[in-house]
C-alpha cells in the first residue's frame, strides 16, 4: 500500500537527520522525538520458522542453530522443499509384473501402509517412502542419490567436518572472554554485589563478547559486580588447553591452464557461488554434493530508542499474531500530511496546491504551520536546533519554496481521529466556523485540506520539492515517578515541530484531478 498512497512523496525528518515517510518512523514518548529504523536498537523477541511457524524458546533455538528441523530449502533455488510420497515395494520382487509407482503430491502422513496389487491379483505389501522435491526448479533429493526416507521427518543434517576444530576454538575464546570480563569488572566494582538478574558469568559470555549485546547484559556490565563466592574463584584459574595453532601454507599452486582445455571439466555440473555459500560448512563444488538446507529461523523484534533506552515497539510473543503490546509508531502521534492536488506546473507564478492534514490522535489537536523562512527569522533559543537543521538541508533538494495564503499565525484545529465510516457531522460545523477561509478549503472529520502556494526557484528544475514546518502538541511520558498522590505529574506535554519535505513529482507531470469535495 505504500505504492497506492505514494507515501514516499512526503517525508518527515527524523531526529538523526534523515528523511523518511511517516509510516516507517517510530515515536519515542519519553524523549518526544521521531526515531527511524537506524535510531533504534533491535532485540530478538520470538524465533520461529517462516514456513511452518513453529515457535521455539530462545535457548532452544540457539542450540538448534536457529534452523528448523522440518522445513528445508532447495539448495539450487532456495525455495521451500515439498515432501512427496511414493509407494515402493517392500518385499522381494517375484516373477510377476511389478506394479507401477503412483505419485501423490503433498505430504500424506496419515495414510497407512498401502497395498498394491499386481496384474495377477496377488497382494504385495508396499511402504510409503518420502523424498523432497522443489516445485520451482524441479530439484529433488533423488538427484543427489539420497535414499527415500521411510518416515516423514527424518532428514538428517550433514556432518560438518570442521565441527571439532570450531568447538575447540570456541571454547578457547570463551575462556578468554570470561577471564577478561572478570578482570574488567573486578577493577571497577570490587565490593558491589551481583544483581540477581545476571545468572553466571559463563552464560553472559556466551552471548556478549562475540555477539549482539542485549540491553539486559549491557546494563549488567554497567552496574553489575562480582559475586564473592568460591565457585567463581575456581573459574579464575586459567585452563591450559589452548588449541593447536593452524598451519599456514606458504605457497599456493598456480592455476593449471590445461584444466580448461581438457574435456574432463564439465561446467554444467558446477555449483554457482550463491549455491556454494548457502551451505558454508561444506561448500560443494559439484551439483552432486548439494544437500537440502534447513530453513533459517526468522524473528520478531522489539525496538528500543537508542537515547533513552525505552521500548518503542514490542510485538506479541506468538508468531501468528500481528498485534503489538507496545506500538508507538509516529503515524499515531503526528498529523499526517498528504498531497491532494497540484496543478500543471508553471515557472513564474505561485502554483496553488492542496495538501491534506490528517489527525491520527484520539483528541482534538491544534496544529500550526510555518514556512522555513519564518523559522529562520525566529531567533528564539528553543529554535536554535531547528534552525540549524533547516540550515543543513541541502539547497539542491529544495527546488521550490512553499508559502501559505495567510501571513502569520496559522493555527487550525483538528478533530479527533475517527473511522471514515462514521457520519457525525456536528463537530465538523463547529470547527469550520473558526477556520481561516483562505487557508482551509475543506474539512471532514479528522482531515483538513489546506491550500498552499509553490513557487519554483529557477527554470532548470526537474523535480518539484518543497519543505515546511508543522507544530503540534504531544503528550509524552516522563520517566520520573513522583508520589502516588499527584495525578498529572507523569505526563509532560510539549509542542514539537517537524520538518516535512514534500516531493510533488517531476515537473512534467500533469495536474492531479481535483476531488469533488474540494471544488
Amino acid at each position: 500500500m505504500t505504492t497506492l498512497l505514494n507515501v514516499q512523496r512526503v517525508k518527515y525528518q527524523c531526529s538523526c537527520g534523515s528523511f523518511k515517510s511517516l509510516c516507517f518512523l517510530y515515536f519515542c514518548r519519553h524523549c518526544l522525538k521521531i526515531k527511524c529504523k537506524d535510531c533504534v536498537t533491535l532485540e530478538v523477541d520470538c524465533r520461529f520458522c517462516p514456513s511452518c511457524y513453529e515457535h521455539l524458546q530462545s535457548h532452544e533455538a540457539i542450540t538448534r542453530k536457529n534452523r528448523c528441523q522440518n522445513c528445508f530449502s532447495c539448495p539450487s533455488c532456495n525455495h521451500t522443499l515439498v515432501t512427496r510420497a511414493t509407494n515402493s515395494l517392500a518385499t522381494l520382487p517375484s516373477n510377476l509384473n511389478i506394479t507401477p509407482e503412483n505419485m501423490n503430491a503433498g505430504a500424506d502422513a496419515d495414510d497407512s501402509v498401502s497395498n498394491s496389487t499386481n496384474t495377477s491379483g496377488l497382494q504385495t505389501p508396499s511402504k510409503k517412502v518420502y523424498y523432497l522435491a522443489c516445485s520451482v526448479c524441479r530439484w529433488s533429493t533423488r538427484d543427489i542419490h539420497l535414499a527415500d526416507q521411510p518416515t516423514i521427518n527424518s532428514w538428517k543434517a550433514q556432518d560438518n567436518i570442521h565441527e571439532g576444530r570450531f568447538n575447540e576454538l570456541l571454547q578457547h575464546y570463551k575462556q578468554i572472554a570470561t577471564r577478561e570480563k572478570q578482570e574488567r569488572d573486578r577493577k571497577r566494582y570490587s565490593t558491589v554485589k551481583l544483581r540477581n538478574t545476571i545468572a553466571t558469568s559463563a552464560t553472559r559470555s556466551s552471548s556478549d563478547k562475540y555477539g549482539v549485546l542485549t540491553p539486559l547484559t549491557r546494563r549488567g556490565i554497567r552496574t553489575g559486580g562480582i559475586l564473592k563466592t568460591p565457585s567463581l574463584n575456581e573459574n579464575l584459574i586459567p585452563t591450559n588447553s589452548s588449541p593447536k595453532p593452524s598451519d599456514s601454507i606458504a605457497t599456493i599452486e598456480p592455476l593449471d591452464e590445461t584444466l580448461f582445455l581438457s574435456d574432463s571439466f564439465d561446467f554444467n555440473k558446477l555449483t554457482t557461488i550463491t549455491q556454494r555459500l548457502n551451505s558454508v560448512e561444506s561448500q560443494p563444488l559439484t551439483i552432486d554434493h548439494l544437500y537440502p538446507l534447513a530453513k533459517n529461523f526468522t524473528s520478531k523484534q522489539s525496538k528500543r530508542c537508542k537515547e533513552c533506552d525505552h521500548n518503542v515497539l514490542k510485538p506479541e510473543p506468538s508468531p501468528k499474531l500481528i498485534k503489538f503490546k507496545l506500538h508507538q509508531m509516529a503515524l499515531f502521534f503526528i498529523p499526517e500530511v498528504r498531497i491532494w492536488h497540484h496543478p500543471a506546473w508553471s515557472f513564474d507564478d505561485n502554483n496553488p496546491c492542496i495538501i491534506s492534514v490528517i489527525n491520527q490522535v484520539d483528541e482534538k489537536t491544534l496544529i500550526k504551520l510555518y514556512t522555513l523562512d519564518e523559522i529562520r527569522q525566529e531567533n528564539d533559543e528553543n529554535n536554535s536546533e531547528l534552525i540549524e537543521r533547516i540550515g543543513q538541508l541541502d539547497e539542491n533538494t529544495l527546488t521550490s519554496i512553499l508559502t501559505f495564503p495567510i501571513e502569520n499565525d496559522r493555527s487550525v484545529q483538528l478533530h479527533p481521529h475517527v473511522e471514515p465510516n462514521d457520519v457525525d457531522t456536528k463537530i465538523n460545523d463547529e470547527l469550520r466556523q473558526n477556520d481561516p477561509k483562505d487557508l482551509v478549503i475543506h474539512r471532514k472529520f479528522a482531515k483538513l485540506a489546506i491550500r498552499c502556494f509553490v513557487k519554483i526557484k529557477n527554470s532548470d528544475v526537474k523535480r518539484v520539492r518543497a519543505a515546511f514546518v508543522i507544530e503540534h502538541r504531544v503528550v509524552g511520558i516522563s520517566s520520573i515517578v513522583s508520589t502516588p498522590t499527584t495525578t498529572n505529574s507523569n505526563t509532560n506535554t510539549q509542542n514539537i515541530r517537524h520538518i516535512i519535505l514534500i516531493d510533488f513529482g517531476s515537473i512534467d507531470e500533469p495536474a492531479l484531478p481535483l476531488h469533488s469535495a474540494l471544488v
Binding site: L5, H515, S516
Partner: protein, 180 residues
C-alpha cells in the same frame, strides 16, 4: 497522496444491501458458494470460481480488474479435491492477478499482474510486489515484502501495515462513486 476518485456507471455495478459492489461484467461461478462480507468491490472482468469450492472474502476488500480467483486443489490417489479458499479483511488485490492461494490473511496488498501459486498461505500484513510469481505451497510471513519470480524476500514491511491498509481500502470505497 490521497486516492483519486473513481467513477462508475450505476448500471454497471450491482450493489448489495451489505454494501458490496460487484460489476455485472465479472463472472461469478457458483455464486451461492461465494461470500462477500461487506463493502467489498469486485471490478470488471473478474472470474471467481465458486463452483469448485467455497470462496470467502472479507469486508472492505478490493479486487481489481481481470483477476482470477480460483480455489486450490489437491491431487489424491483417487482424483482431485478442491479446497475452500479464504481471503481476509481489507485486502487490496490489484489488476490482472491470478490467485490460487489457500489462504490470504487480512491487510494484504497484492500487486498487479502477480501469480500466486496453489495452496500458498499469505499471512496478514504482507505486500506482494507487482509481477511476482509465487511458487506453489509457499508460506509468506507477516510484515514482509516478497517479489520477483520465483518470489524471494525483498525487505521488511513497516509495522503500520494494518492501519495503512484499513485507510486505503476504506477511502477507496468512499472514493468509488456512481454517476448515473
Amino acid at each position: 497522496m490521497e486516492l483519486a476518485e473513481i467513477f462508475y456507471k450505476k448500471s454497471d455495478f450491482i450493489e448489495t444491501t451489505s454494501g458490496n459492489k460487484v460489476c455485472r461484467r465479472s463472472i461469478m461461478c457458483g455464486s451461492q458458494n461465494i461470500v462477500l462480507q461487506g463493502k467489498t468491490i469486485v471490478m470488471a472482468d473478474c472470474i471467481v470460481r465458486g463452483d469448485l469450492a467455497a470462496v470467502k472474502i472479507g469486508k472492505n476488500c478490493v479486487i481489481g480488474e481481470k483477476c482470477v480467483i480460483r480455489p486450490p486443489f489437491k491431487k489424491f490417489a483417487k482424483g482431485v479435491a478442491f479446497f475452500p479458499m479464504q481471503i481476509g479483511d481489507h485486502v487490496f488485490i490489484e489488476d490482472e492477478c491470478v490467485i490460487n492461494a489457500a489462504t490470504i490473511g487480512s491487510y494484504v496488498h497484492i500487486g498487479k499482474n502477480s501469480v500466486i501459486g496453489r495452496r500458498c498461505i499469505i499471512m496478514d500484513c504482507s505486500y506482494i510486489l507487482p509481477n511476482t510469481v509465487i511458487p506453489p505451497e509457499t508460506v509468506i510471513p507477516s510484515y514482509t515484502v516478497y517479489g520477483g519470480s520465483p518470489s524471494a524476500f525483498v525487505e521488511d514491511f513497516p509495522e503500520t501495515a494494518k492501519e495503512l491498509m484499513m485507510d486505503v481500502t476504506q477511502s477507496f470505497y468512499q472514493n468509488f462513486r456512481p454517476i448515473a
